[in-house]
Symmetry: C2
Subunit: 497 residues, 2 copies
Amino acid sequence: MSTVTQEVGGKTQRKLLNHDNINPHIRRVQYAVRGELAIRAENLKAAIAKRGRNGFSFDSVVNCNIGNPQQLKQKPITFFRQVASLIDYPDLLIPENQSKVEALYPIDAIERARKLLKQIGAVGAYSHSQGIESIRNDVAEFIKERDGYSTDPALIFLTQGASQGVQNVLQIIISHSNVGVMIPIPQYPLYTATLALYDGKPVPYYLNEEQDWGLDIAELTSSLAKARSEGVEVRALVIINPGNPTGQCLSEHNMKEIIEFCYREGLILLADEVYQANIYYPAQRPFHSFKKVLKSMGPEYDEFELFSFHSISKGLIGECGRRGGYFECTGIDPKVVDELYKIASVNLCPNVHGQVMVDLMVKPPKSGDPSYDLYQNECREIYESLRRRSAKLCKVFNSMEGVTCNSAQGAMYLFPQITLPQKAIEAAELSSHQPDEFYCLAMLDATGVCVVPGSGFGQKDNTWHFRSTFLPQEELFEGFCGLLTKFHNEFMDKYRD
Amino acid sequence: MSTVTQEVGGKTQRKLLNHDNINPHIRRVQYAVRGELAIRAENLKAAIAKRGRNGFSFDSVVNCNIGNPQQLKQKPITFFRQVASLIDYPDLLIPENQSKVEALYPIDAIERARKLLKQIGAVGAYSHSQGIESIRNDVAEFIKERDGYSTDPALIFLTQGASQGVQNVLQIIISHSNVGVMIPIPQYPLYTATLALYDGKPVPYYLNEEQDWGLDIAELTSSLAKARSEGVEVRALVIINPGNPTGQCLSEHNMKEIIEFCYREGLILLADEVYQANIYYPAQRPFHSFKKVLKSMGPEYDEFELFSFHSISKGLIGECGRRGGYFECTGIDPKVVDELYKIASVNLCPNVHGQVMVDLMVKPPKSGDPSYDLYQNECREIYESLRRRSAKLCKVFNSMEGVTCNSAQGAMYLFPQITLPQKAIEAAELSSHQPDEFYCLAMLDATGVCVVPGSGFGQKDNTWHFRSTFLPQEELFEGFCGLLTKFHNEFMDKYRD
């Protein structure tokens, strides 16, 4: 008889399933992006909706905590949504409706929807578990165009966002509880959360804040040596490039060093490249995929094992709600690919609407198509605005007392460091919060701006940061940046040592 | 140094990540619905597409292996798709487009899309990780209407199909590798696959084929006693009602017995109710939800712990490709609900298009709405046709030598038993297949009809079954049923003892 049963027989108050007897790996998972701050921000929003700004020093909550562009009014790409709309309601494509539909949709959207529907069969049906074949072909074509090296569509898995792909790959790598995976610090907490969930060991390496969050091979080497000396079986290295939350974009030279390091040390490389279209200094810091750099290194590296991840949620598209993405296997044992396919089968298939959006992302309107100019303009506008907003917010942070902030070479985030006065650190301790959490909660209450404390991503001991997206609408910047500066001044005055 | 690293240093051929050193739980997962037969069917399809029926005794492959209605040309519900189409392209809802849009969409679809967009904000944004609040409210309303007992929307989780919900709940229950979960045999293989993946122990109980696949409490009792005597910590019981692959629909009396059993034995109940709208003898065997039956049993059962699952993939909607569903927590410890929310957060959110479809499912057009009659007619037609097809196919199976088949009280499947001649069993052994697999492969090659061998679902020793959906289009029935009968006769003649 289990304890649980005895408890029930004894009519104790405890639930059969309670916090003490759930899967302990789940209990250990931490996920700050949606933690206390996010919940408090939601409550504030509800309160403002109910009783107006009465009692608050701001009109609205500004969600800088999640890379969620359309939540902050970024307009979706028109062509993509036109195609999606037509696919949802195939009756629009019958001849009787042609003239009415042409009054609302451009001809290339209609043609594209027709072609996709023919390839897919029915969007309401489960697709191939690995993703629709024609869409995987288009992804392969995109990769070839991007990198100059071809790819086998059979090695591409469409997924429900990059996160699902990362989880599947880490799950297959973690073969026992002593398996380690190297992750950057600071990191996007998906990695620590997934390692906790599947009972693997995070092997942290620190990015170099003083060098624009650059990646030092010496740091990788010493981190690996330390883990190995502790008996951890380190199997893989995760790189987020462009970085989240750090925004760095790796040079080709640095990427070669990383590949050489993995090769030398027998590590599988996981390249999280979901921000590959968010590159703000393309001349100095263009994006290179790890796949491309690897292939450029010649046949010696033919057996190198690499997983590369991409998503529709980021870039200039920001279709987070659709949950679409893919990963590509390079040099992976075919039997391992089969096992990944089996896991995909248990999940039936990635949602077909997300798959369709992947297809549109990798195969947008071409020059000469009726929708090409609009598509180009929309992308350019979003891109230029992101660049401006990134620079603007970075300047605001750097103008604050005790705050330093690297500019974002890529991605959607800034990760400023704050030097907090000792009194603030003590006050934080009294309220049972980390100092950076304490600062961020105070910021939220004073300004309505919701960011994520650095402790959710990891940071060097006794340094404090927060992550802020630069996604709020441009016209809001003056307002909330003013509030931020005022808050910071008052906070520093209040706690000045 | 790990073995893996040494191998690389030594330049052996082995990959760092190979079949022998992946997560062993993944290696152990079996998932027959998409196994050898499904792959062979795909290859046949491709071959026919390429070179016509040349060499085959059939024109096309008939996929009876997956409950995937729209793959087999079931038309989606028009109103649902109209709303989805409008939501995808919000520019349709601006005043300038009103008359053009009204020429293509009914007014209630337009109003519903407008309302949903207002509630959701942006379909391209990550939503609340647990699902959009207004949609959870509508689900709670639906449950209340169905059962007569109210529900807290905070205890409803929207998911990417019921499968994801089942996986999350099993994952949280399996706290160590000696945790057992009672599952029906035959069962939908999601359960054994998920138990393998999270390293739990399946505790099988057999459904009673002679009693229309009924569920005997004596069988539950002896199965539980056996597992406990072997030291397994049995924590939960899974019921699939209506059954998959068995199609049984439980009586209210039987459900009360099951709840009493769980209560007595200290088991959490997982009720997979995805086929609740597929009920073919509503007078004799109506659907009752476990939630409703539980609530009818009075305050003694107030602390009972139940998870109930539902989906948009089945019923008369069949929107499998969208990946939408929900689960409801009844009597679950709030701290456990918080942990489920944390896991949902790591996955960001269920895809918003699937959430929207959940909303449409639980809140379809009402009497008096412009789309009501069409909606009713479409549902009725699909329902009547499913009933007819189910009866037709059951009759065909029962007319075959050595085959007996219970009729489907619910769901989308028949699970006939075949008495195979000894010679067939020996031939199967020679070809390294299970006898039922051998029979199903022969069926596929002879008829193009793809079903799933009973061994993929579990069956009593030395009995052989297969699962077939009755979803092919009605007009195809005469053709493929004729081929099936002819195949079976020839098979029996060939292997007759």
